[in-house]
């Protein structure tokens, strides 16, 4: 059986947001490709459309015109229900502010996406244990997020994002709320997920030093790519 390739294609994408009676354009005829297994960093000033790209690829926002295709699946043709299911199988999200459920333990947070699978309770427990081990939090299973440091919370966020083994990780400023040391640890972890597990990672960041782990970095301004850097040792 040929493994499915999850290449990402944005073709002639137009996107705008309403502001009162008018609309603020974000993209006008944006086209881009992200090959399966890439680690792409997107940089640019606020309002340049970085997060919108993540939203469109993650299927949590829709294009006005154009197409978003991932592994041959046209997101703009899918029903809400189908898109929700697809997202749970293909996409993992890592948020700037972690977005953990504060009343659930680290393990319960990581288990959330697994509730959408057919795994039994014991299989879920085992998977959670393994993943928390991968992110270096095997001794923090039962800790509430409020008892964890920012870096540890983001590790839980990453563990949750990879729990259901998605092919694509969308990271929105994953180190934006962390000190340098924690940020480096998180970046190393993301790089590991890309190189060892083959996850496609798209990371939006303001921090230029964060791009060291990416294979490619693109700069976005006013909805257009203005430059691209390819890491030498990628």
């Amino acid at each position: 059986m040929t493994p499915v390739s999850y290449d990402i294609e944005l073709t002639n994408v137009c996107k705008s947001y309403p502001l009162g009676k008018s609309r603020i354009p974000i993209f006008d005829d944006l086209t881009m490709s992200i090959p399966d297994g890439d680690f792409l960093a997107i940089m640019g000033p606020s309002g340049s459309g970085k997060s919108t790209i993540l939203n469109l690829i993650g299927g949590i926002d829709t294009v006005d015109k154009g197409h978003v295709s991932i592994g041959g699946t046209m997101l703009d043709k899918m029903s809400t229900r189908a898109l929700t299911r697809w997202r749970s199988e293909v996409i993992g999200f890592v948020f700037q502010f972690y977005n953990l459920m504060p009343m659930l333990s680290a393990a319960q947070n990581v288990e959330l996406p697994l509730l959408l699978t057919d795994l039994s309770a014991s299989e879920r427990r085992e998977r959670v244990h393994t993943i928390l081990d991968i992110v270096g939090l095997s001794d923090r299973h039962d800790h509430l997020p409020s008892l964890l440091s920012g870096g540890q919370q983001q590790r839980v966020g990453i563990a949750r994002a990879i729990a259901s083994d998605p092919r694509i990780l969308l990271c929105d400023e994953p180190t934006g709320d962390l000190d340098r040391k924690s940020a480096d640890e998180i970046l190393d972890l993301l790089q590991l997920l890309n190189t060892k597990l083959g996850k496609t990672i798209i990371m939006v960041t303001h921090d230029e030093s964060s791009t060291r782990v990416a294979k490619r970095t693109v700069f976005l301004d006013k909805g257009r790519f203005v430059s691209e850097e390819i890491a030498q040792c990628a």
Partner: protein, 397 residues
């Protein structure tokens, strides 16, 4: 299906665990439901208690004769001649010498001073024949002794004895210009008779200047099945403007009328309050959705369904209203059940009864609370399904 249940359960659990974050507004929702339930159960317990008191009064084999058209004894007038003719009716229990067991009775409103309010209230002083006690087999002397016929002595119903001044055994009390001695207290199985004072009918007629006045006749039938024959004789054969009904039917009708009035007031008031509580619940739940917006958007982004978000919000609303309901039912049971109350009965006299709660009433309260939860939680639950997923990217959890 199991996936949906698992999602709903996980989100509902997370919602409920996050309640301490919204403690005060959630508490206000719980308390507003508690208040609605208390008011509703107060009215229901009142109606039920009143109905119980009256329905425990009267027997099927005792007939009550009033003048036609009178729905209470106070409005009835029976002439002595009419009473004599009723004595000839078929189906009556008679003594060895052929005397029928009939009690000629009249009820006179008298004033007594309530101990709690220190104000005059109107009580019923019932004049009865000697046979009147035979016709009330549940009347038992609980303190003192029975009155002696032909003397100005009274016995006092248990529900009144401790609530009015000068009604202790041995006390004398003045009604109008006449003085009476309290010689005993009686119980009557919780029936309405416990709200009356009993005295000799002849003395009551004499002391209150109502010579030969009779308001009702109580008649002992040999069998409840003979009532129809008795009624036909009194109403059709005699055709003297009298009407007969069983004692039980008479009190049941009174219970039904007054219970209906209580419920007629109680339900609308409870529903208006429930409407207010539902609006309050809606505000609380909108606030809850707003508070959890990032969490909802996050789990939706992870792949949780809209319906799971809907159910979780609705479950939170229903759980809060059920907690409020449970507190309301518990408080009502502790504070209201068995609580003594009184209202105006026939001749504007005080009729004492005990509030009585029952399980069907508690179920009514639960249904009302669930309705508040469903109405108050429904629209916010819909909003939860429409939380923009972009919120997950922008907010701080």
């Amino acid at each position: 299906m199991f996936g949906f249940l698992r999602q709903s359960l996980a989100l509902s659990t997370a919602n409920l665990r996050s309640l301490p974050r919204r403690a005060w507004i959630s508490l206000s929702m719980v308390l507003s439901v508690t208040l609605v339930v208390l008011v509703l159960l107060g009215f229901l317990a009142m109606a039920n208690g009143f109905r119980k008191t009256l329905s425990s009064t009267g027997a099927d084999n005792v007939a009550l004769v009033l003048s036609r058209g009178a729905f209470s004894e106070a409005l009835s007038r029976i002439e002595t001649q009419q009473a004599h003719l009723v004595e000839e009716a078929p189906g009556l229990v008679r003594t060895d010498d052929g005397t029928p067991l009939i009690s000629r009775e009249l009820v006179v409103p008298v004033d007594a001073v309530a101990l709690d309010s220190n104000k005059n209230e109107t009580l019923s002083l019932r004049g009865i024949d000697q046979t009147g006690l035979t016709l009330r087999p549940r009347v038992q002397i609980s303190d003192g002794r029975m009155m002696t016929p032909g003397t100005a002595e009274i016995v006092v119903g248990a529900r009144l004895a401790s609530r009015y001044r000068n009604l202790a055994v041995g006390d004398t009390i003045t009604f109008g210009r006449s003085q009476w001695t309290v010689v005993g207290h009686f119980t009557a199985g919780g029936s309405v008779f416990e709200s009356e004072l009993l005295a000799d009918a002849g003395l009551v007629q004499a002391q209150f200047n109502r010579p030969n006045q009779i308001q009702s006749l109580r008649v002992q039938l040999s069998d409840a099945a003979r009532f129809e024959q008795f009624r036909a004789y009194v109403e059709d054969e005699l055709d003297m403007g009298l009407a007969a009904q069983t004692e039980k039917a008479f009190y049941a009708a009174q219970a039904s009328d007054i219970s209906r009035i209580i419920l007629f007031l109680g339900w609308p008031l409870a529903i208006v309050m429930a409407f207010g509580a539902a609006v309050g619940a809606m505000t609380t739940m909108y606030s809850s959705v707003s508070d959890r917006m990032i969490e909802i958007a996050t789990v939706r982004a992870l792949g949780f369904s809209r319906s799971a978000a809907f159910v979780a919000t609705l479950v939170e609303a229903l759980v809060l209203t059920l907690i409020g309901c449970a507190i309301g039912v518990a408080l009502a049971w502790i504070g209201l059940d068995g609580w003594s109350a009184s209202t105006k009965g026939g001749a504007n006299a005080q009729l004492a009864f005990q509030l009585a709660l029952s399980w069907p009433q508690a179920v009514s309260a639960v249904v009302l609370a669930l309705a508040i939860g469903a109405v108050g939680g429904g629209l916010p639950a819909l909003r939860a399904t429409r939380v923009p997923l972009r919120a997950a990217m922008t907010g701080r959890a």
